[in-house]
């Protein structure tokens, strides 16, 4: 397999699989096919590291997006494994029909395709299109249960997402306008690699306006407060695998887009520094989500807010910039993806076993289901940023590297993290400990994806492989 093919394959495999899944019958077959396709995509994406692929006008592979692609395809693969057993149970209890499952699987692969496309796109227009496709796909998947709540969540997601799409497009057009006088008309003026070369000569005022629109447009997808409104409901009401994908991947993809544009702005000294804007939004998100954790009644919605909080931290880190903070941001993003998706796997199992995702109806999980209960404890410990797990390392770097520069901002962030810790553990106490509540039937699902994620997160807390570190450091330098 040559390198260029690998790049194509990352896009083609999901597309072909989506087509196949749309027509094949039987949920077992389709679920397995889904897993196989995801695995194949993942393996292909790993091969991107082995062969240096050639970048064209439309597709691009560099250090930055390699990290994202591998992460995305890996989580997509583990989620597909989880999804296979999860969906099976959903059919058994009649929440989903075979038809909607077929639709679900096809959409799953379309989503993979869209996200991969967004990541490898070397064209800001193409990237925009890909992210929008990903958004629309998830809208459909969120509404798949067709309950009142699910439809409402999907509708809200759809409307807010559409506005976000529009804003992002306007920003994209403005970037083109800024680039055109320098680069000239046509496709060239939308190609990343070209844009980056000439960014210093762009009209700064235009770039500023563009960035505002892009920040709000893609920020809606990232889930930054106050643009976050779709996120908690979409997470809570959709199927759990989709919650995992949303939190673990889609937010990252939108963030990736934001980072690309941030790099562009950073290269133009006359434009406003994107840092302060991102830092502000990051802090607002982190604080806001931290407070929102306290009064949650739905376990999935709670973790959705936790995603907002972490996205806030990540955006804060990237906004602060500098090699340490950028490294921390990348690490945090990776760890958050792995941890949060694993938490959603756990929560999915819990919700299936207990037949509810209301926190009030859950209790004493470590007694009735020790594996699930302790996994949840582990997940919350990890997501709350306690050592020796991965997120601690990134939070350590974010806070310690920014406190010397911006003590007030770092203090606010610390406050947010602490409030969030309080909120998460307040609810965890009720769910995992105390008097057991609810049924205590056996779990019919695969623990493998959950354990795999938690294993990686645990290892990363104390040991990062040098290759990964070198990659992250490169990217951190790129991000300036």
């Amino acid at each position: 397999m040559t390198a260029f093919n690998a790049l194509d394959a990352v896009l083609l495999i999901p597309l072909v699989a989506a087509a196949a899944l749309a027509v094949l019958p039987g949920y077992r077959l389709t679920a397995n096919l889904n897993v196989v396709a995801s695995l194949a995509t993942f393996l292909t994406s790993v091969s991107l590291f082995l062969f240096e692929p050639r970048s064209g006008d439309y597709l691009l592979v560099d250090d930055l997006n390699k990290v994202f692609i591998v992460l995305t395809t890996f989580v997509a693969f583990t989620t597909s494994v989880f999804s296979a057993s999860y969906i099976g149970h959903e059919i058994e209890i009649g929440r989903l029909t075979p038809r909607s499952v077929r639709f679900y699987h096809a959409m799953y692969q379309v989503l993979m395709f869209a996200m991969n496309l967004a990541l490898v796109a070397n064209n800001i227009g193409l990237m925009w299109v890909a992210i929008e496709v990903a958004t629309l796909t998830t809208v459909l998947m969120v509404g798949i249960y067709r309950t009142h709540e699910a439809l409402e969540a999907a509708w809200k997601y759809f409307i807010l997402g559409s506005v976000g799409i529009a804003l992002a497009l306007f920003g994209t057009i403005l970037v083109y306008m800024a680039a055109r006088p320098v680069i000239g008309e046509g496709l060239e003026a939308m190609v990343w690699t070209v844009l980056v070369q000439h960014a210093a000569k762009f009209d700064p005022a235009l770039l500023n306006v563009a960035f505002v629109f892009l920040l709000l447009g893609y920020g809606t997808k990232v889930g930054l407060a106050p643009l976050h409104a779709w996120l908690p409901d979409a997470h809570a009401e959709g199927p759990t695998p989709i919650s995992a994908v949303l939190s673990g991947l889609l937010l990252n993809v939108a963030l990736y887009a934001l980072l690309r544009f941030k790099m562009l702005l950073a290269l133009n000294p006359a434009s406003i520094a994107p840092g302060p804007l991102m830092v502000t939004m990051g802090l607002i998100s982190c604080l806001f989500a931290a407070f929102m954790l306290y009064r949650r009644r739905d376990i999935k919605r709670m973790f959705a807010y936790s995603s907002i909080e972490h996205m806030g931290i990540i955006v804060f880190a990237f906004g602060m910039g500098g090699p340490l903070a950028n490294f921390a941001g990348l690490l945090h993003m990776t760890m958050h993806s792995l941890t949060k998706s694993a938490i959603f796997f756990t929560v999915g199992h819990i919700a299936q076993v207990k037949g509810t995702q209301k926190i009030a109806d859950l209790g004493g999980l470590t007694v009735t289901h020790p594996v699930l209960g302790w996994s949840l404890v582990f997940g919350v410990v990890a997501i709350a940023g306690l050592p020796p797990l991965g997120i601690f390392m990134s939070e350590f770097l974010v806070i310690s590297s920014t406190f010397a520069r911006e003590p007030v901002l770092a203090t606010i962030l610390v406050f947010g993290i602490l409030v969030a810790l309080g909120g998460l553990f307040l609810r965890l106490n009720g769910i995992a400990f105390g008097e057991p509540r609810g049924p205590s039937g056996p779990v019919h699902a695969s623990y493998v994806p959950m354990f795999a994620h938690f294993g990686i997160v645990a290892c990363a807390g104390i040991y990062l492989p040098p290759g990964l570190v070198a990659g992250f450091e490169n990217v951190a330098k790129l991000l300036g």
Partner: protein, 669 residues
Amino acid sequence: MVVYALFGVLALVALAPVAIALNASARATALVYSASLMITLIVGTAALLALTGYDGAGSAVTLPLGLPWLGAHFRIDALSAFFLAVINLGGAAASLFALGYGRHEEFPGRVLPFYPVYLGAMNLVLLADDAFSFLVSWEFMSLSSWALVIAHHRVRENLRAGYVYLLMAGFGTLALLLAFGLLAGAQGNYAFDAIRAAHPSTGLAALVLILVLIGAGSKAGLVPLHAWLPLAHPAAPSHISALMSGVMTKVAVYAFVRITFDLLGPPDWWWSLVVLAVGGISAVMGVLYALMQRDVKRVLAYSTIENIGIIFAALGLALAFKAYAMHFAAALALTAALLHVFNHALFKNLLFCGAGAVLSATGERDLEKLGGLIHRMPQTAFVFLIGCTAISALPPLNGFVSEWLIFQAILLSPQLPSWGLKLMVPAVGALLALSAALAGACFVRAFGIGFLGRPRSDEARGAQETDTHSLAAMYALAALCLIAGILPGLFIDTLAPVAQMLTQGRMPVQTGVEWLSIVPIAESRSSYNGLLVFVFMTASGMIAAFAIHRLASDRIRRSIAWGCGYPDPGPLTQYTADSLAQPIRRVFGTLVFSAHESGEMPPPGSTAPARLTVKMRDPVWDTLYAPVADFITYASERLNVLQFLTIRRYLTLVFMALVLLLLVLAIWP
């Protein structure tokens, strides 16, 4: 050396999966605790050897773990060797105790996996030689102890205790994190060597000091950051409480000493002012709180706060002396503090083990339901009494020695030139004196109500002496209390390398002094000989007993107690824990706790019982914690509205954000 210690930690951590695999059977209990015992003993002994043979360099190792470009640095120097010895001694004692006590554990599956990990994490904190490894181990220590605190999670109070504990632990860790962030600078020089080499500016160092005081102080239980401690320490199984109170607080002291004395460079004089004040207040507040408690384990937990206060006051003195380059006096104060660290580890472990023995014998922690245990559990009572005597700073036991040294250090402080210290030190001296006296009262109460008198409940009436393992652990600790009390010179000399390392001064060599006295400064100035006091007291007591029994009478008759003419009243008419503390509550409690008593007297002729209600408020909780909790509740309630907006209103938010950002652009220069 450090490698062996790391292997010890690894072995401890590796016990956790073993415990899980053995599925908490009786065999697992025996295995985990005996293995922990062995490992802690070995590591502790090794650390002791490293301390006595300390050559000024220590041993270090860097592992390719942790932060990738930094690696995990581990190092043993005099300071960490001393604390390693203390911690592993405490760990060994707790493990030995748990060999017996752990058999009564209702949920071994929730204790066994975490126990060795907790021990390992504490060791790791002491070994860490860079900020990241330090914080990882530090927070990991909190986390594993949190799991132990909520081992009995079905009791609501325990869950709440664990929650408050975890929050405060997170708070402390973040404070330390910020401190290290400042020390390491934006470049992220996290290795302790690099931090030591970079001298922070005065203002920065001051901020670091405050942060460290918050971070380490919250773990140590300094007032007003102590709120979690009396909740969490008693909630855990007793051998864990012993570790948390006796040992983990020492890890916090270590953190403080490591950063302020070692990493932060030369101190400013006013730092000591802060530390002294916090220490003195903690000492008095801690013991006053302790006097008001009924739960014996909470009494012990609050008493930990008192002792930590004493330690910090001594550390504050050492800082003051160090700031004025009075190396000798600094060494004296630091040695006093470290000796108290060691002593407190001994007797607090002992007392918590005793409380655990009582708990497993009676199922009660409430003093008001105990009583008369000295008859049913004479050996436990004996060792508990030794612990009480030691913690009350009474000669010839060890608690007195360290307090005596602290007082000697205070007496050196008029030479300090600064006016602030001239006023602060005597005030702190008075607070320490007050706390010492109140501690005596507190432990008269704890021992007297718990072990003496007549049983106040059926459980206390039916108590049985505890098992041999537990007794062995407690006897060992009691013996150490005595040895440290009568041969303090030995321990002071052992501490000399630590003092030398941190203050560039040391106390005179004690082992050569005649009759094994200790002479901190000069013989004409002050000296103390615990051995002779012990010998004299024993001898005169024996002589008196012998003489009286031989020459006068040795007959005994038993009779009912003199009830001033009333017929034998029930055991409930005895003085209770509350009533025993009533005079002190009247004297201090009205001021500190706004204690308020109201009596309800039935009319004459009525047979209804009279009722006395005591209302007390916790000033620290009311002024510091409750407002924060209220604010978070309030804020989350207010913000929660944002979950229930209509789509249009969410769009309005987006719209506003857009307009706002455009406005920013419009007015951007």
